[in-house]
Subunit: 289 residues, 4 copies
């Protein structure tokens, strides 16, 4: 006895198997061994739906950085980045792209969080020397500045901004959400035991202050910063809004163009989920074709 | 040694403990025993942040219906309804309200899905005679038509529409997402064994066709339908769009006002998540104060 | 020979006569004689579509202030406020309301611009003692704080904020767009001839600095400010953004809740036109019913 | 005595002279002589801000068609297309492009409206043989299919769709707003005097029915239609919504991809103004670079 088409379609759709038949995007988690860190590091990557069929095609790449306490799966588990990607790629508002989240988090009392180099844990070196080349080779992604963007939330928004500031030849666009642009001195940890992981993180954020970087940039540096497309997005109830305002003021003073938005919200998942609706078209427009 | 304020705030926020201090909204799952169904039925309810402190206050209520294969937790687990509720209540775009999802799903081969009465499983009777009064008494919610709205997705969008059609004295507003307004005859299951759960569901949807109900409504019925505020929201790639178009055409022919939107998307989680951004303000505007 | 219905409808719609038949909203311009100013002052008012048929009904009122160089017709001519009003009232997103723009502009070299009292031109006295009562009596509008809101752009955004600061018992909500919250001292006109109209305007803005008002507010004043619902909306390319940021910082420091948005755009017509889409629902939610 | 910078900036901005200094976009109206029509025909064209300085650069082009009773200036006077263009080009959401409106309207009792050929007035021939080549040569625009899109409202939405249907080799994208996709037979004018201009227009719309064109398309034609990116946008209160639904149903039946949106609104200026916010990014994404 044959089930009619309608019900079959309905069940398939209800099961999430369908609507679009044929190849689908996928999210996978894997591990890279880092010699720099002397550790295995997991990452999670989104591969667009043509990835498995267009086997010679290369894709632009977006590095998507999680926040403190987060992990490589967070963007896909908590902010459902793959659902927004599927939707915007399907409507044409975003390009097909590879999106990858490295792991720079966990419980900060036990695991070293952060995207910067600290003594004994040169995360930034790992990112640029090992992670980025490996991802781009493995997943037919990026390959040149015009095909590479970076975005992130909170601590990852600070990482996004600082990476793009100090590597403007690597990324064509940077989208910072609710970004930890700096930590004020009164927020510093005055005297910690040498191995205190939160103290190390705090100091690395201050040493890589995104605000001071712009304020102190000379003309050459400013010219380099102007080659990147910048977007800063922070909620009106976010406790990091003052830091983002300082950053915008520094950018304006240095006459470096930057898109700035303050939307409704605080420092929360839904803010970052909705930010993807502007982030993904923004980086897509920046990619060379 | 005292941790500075900034870091404490940051950690708390990062942990999700904060941003707003003080009372928070909460989502809880509990069970009601139904004499009508002769079974225990779970439900999940959102209580707004003032609920535990304003202990004499009553709230408007939104019944939020899941789709086929879904369950009472779906709206909060998959569509993150509580995050959108918190956000829109905080900004004032939605009223503080109680939101509750009953359980009418599960694996349809094993559990009877659906919001309608079928032989031996009078779900609709349970909903109106047992569930609704119990919820409104237990959670200081609803209490009158002007303080009660209904919304749902897919099978729950059909349930929403049909419930509000046949109980216009119960609900002041109905918001149907990607609604199963009907199943065409070619979609019917021609000859099934008597207990086939999907066949029973299919027939109950056809018997309660939302399209036919409007088409056959006499003047008195149309007047009653005009007392409800209707909103129909369906994706342009949704396989149920034709059913929703038929419903809108019937509503127009009967001169019953209805808001109609076709947004980008298919029959998927993210469509329903984003639908909450219009649904919650819509029902809030309909509530009497 | 009878023209068929379709074409008749089409022509009517094309002519702008229709879509909705029956009563329509209207915009009219009239004049009030001011004893305070010893002058006739024009104003423009929007009356919602039920105004002429529900002849005993009273409406909430929104005072909508134009900017420098503007006039009482600007909001309706340049920002098409009536089109947005019709649309949002029709969909239920805004309440039916009376909206009125006084005239406080013109060529600032020849006519005294501004909403504040200056020697010989006590505009603020006129507004509160003559204009507001006259409008509310003539057009069945307002009548109490909970039925009265204020909004404005640029110089009118400063007027909006300052009026609501110093008359929190008069307005329940204030929505400031691209607001002239203050003029920095370096922007001051150092020594002008006594009658210089721009110098007078500049000084009155500085004397009524919205930023300083918050910064200097004592506890009683802060409590009063907390009774108003505040919304500040300014473009990321607006040269007044720094002033709006200072205002928000002062509000945060004083712990007075305020919605803050930075959207894409500069100091231009289209920014204010689009601001109405958030302004009108915002004031509608604030109105008592 | 020097006026301080702040006031100077403010005055300039208030005067609309600025915000951005340097070259600005401009809108100009000019006339083309048509041999086909044996008449002079006015048109209005938007030139992006780099047009006068990048004197060797060529631009993609958007043909923007007005509705019945409209004229070549309507899009810029009534829908303020240039303001949306400036804004979206400035933020990068739309490409710099040339946008041009021909004149195909006026009072339909006196002037022949419409985009189709009728006896003695071969407007479509004029458009493709004279107008399009002249515009693209004169304003360094278009030049190939991938650099040419078309959009329009009401009668111009029908013109947009029909032109792109029958000239899929000319346009890469078509965006139809509130489109007159067809006129039902009951809307036909049964017996008119030969020269009745409205009867001629009605018949030409029926002869070029966009719905029937898709329904009757053979496989070759469908393949050609699939090379165009289609977008259909119609208000939920628009009396033309049924025609647009018929068109979408025909497109779905023919398996030709089309974006479809139903937003809030009727057949009015503000609907078309807001449609530009999706239309301009849509055509920009379609343009080859």
């Amino acid at each position: 006895m044959k089930r009619p088409v309608f019900i079959a379609t309905f069940l398939a759709a209800a099961l999430g198997a369908a609507a679009q038949w044929g190849p689908q995007s996928r999210v996978l988690t894997d591990t890279i061994h880092s010699s720099v860190l002397n550790a295995d590091r997991p990452y999670t990557v989104y591969l667009p739906k043509s990835f498995d069929t267009d086997t010679t095609r290369t894709y632009p790449v977006l590095y998507l950085l999680h926040g403190m306490y987060g992990d490589n799966q967070g963007w896909f588990r908590d902010q459902k980045a793959n659902e927004v990607l599927d939707r915007l790629i399907n409507s044409g508002e975003a390009d097909e792209m590879v999106v990858v989240s490295p792991h720079a988090g966990g419980n900060p009392a036990e695991e070293q969080n952060g995207y910067f180099n600290i003594p004994g844990w040169n995360y930034e070196d790992f990112f640029f020397a090992e992670f980025l080349p490996y991802i781009e080779k493995t997943y037919r992604a990026g390959g040149s500045r015009g095909r590479r963007a970076i975005a992130g939330l909170s601590m990852g928004g600070g990482g996004t901004t600082s990476y793009a500031q100090r590597h403007p030849d690597t990324f064509c666009a940077a989208y910072a959400m609710s970004a930890l642009m700096d930590i004020p001195q009164e927020g510093a940890v005055p005297s910690e035991s040498p191995g205190d992981k939160i103290a190390l993180l705090t100091r690395s954020v201050q040493q890589n202050s995104c605000v001071r970087y712009v304020a102190e940039a000379d003309d050459t540096c400013r010219d380099a910063l102007r080659t990147v497309r910048w977007y800063v997005d922070c909620g009106d109830d976010d406790f990091l809004l003052p830091r983002n305002i300082e950053f915008i003021q520094a950018m304006h003073a240095a006459r470096i163009p930057v898109e700035f938005r303050v939307r409704d919200g605080g420092h929360d998942c839904e803010y970052w989920h909705t930010a993807l609706y502007t982030c993904l078209p923004f980086v897509s427009r920046a990619f060379t074709r």
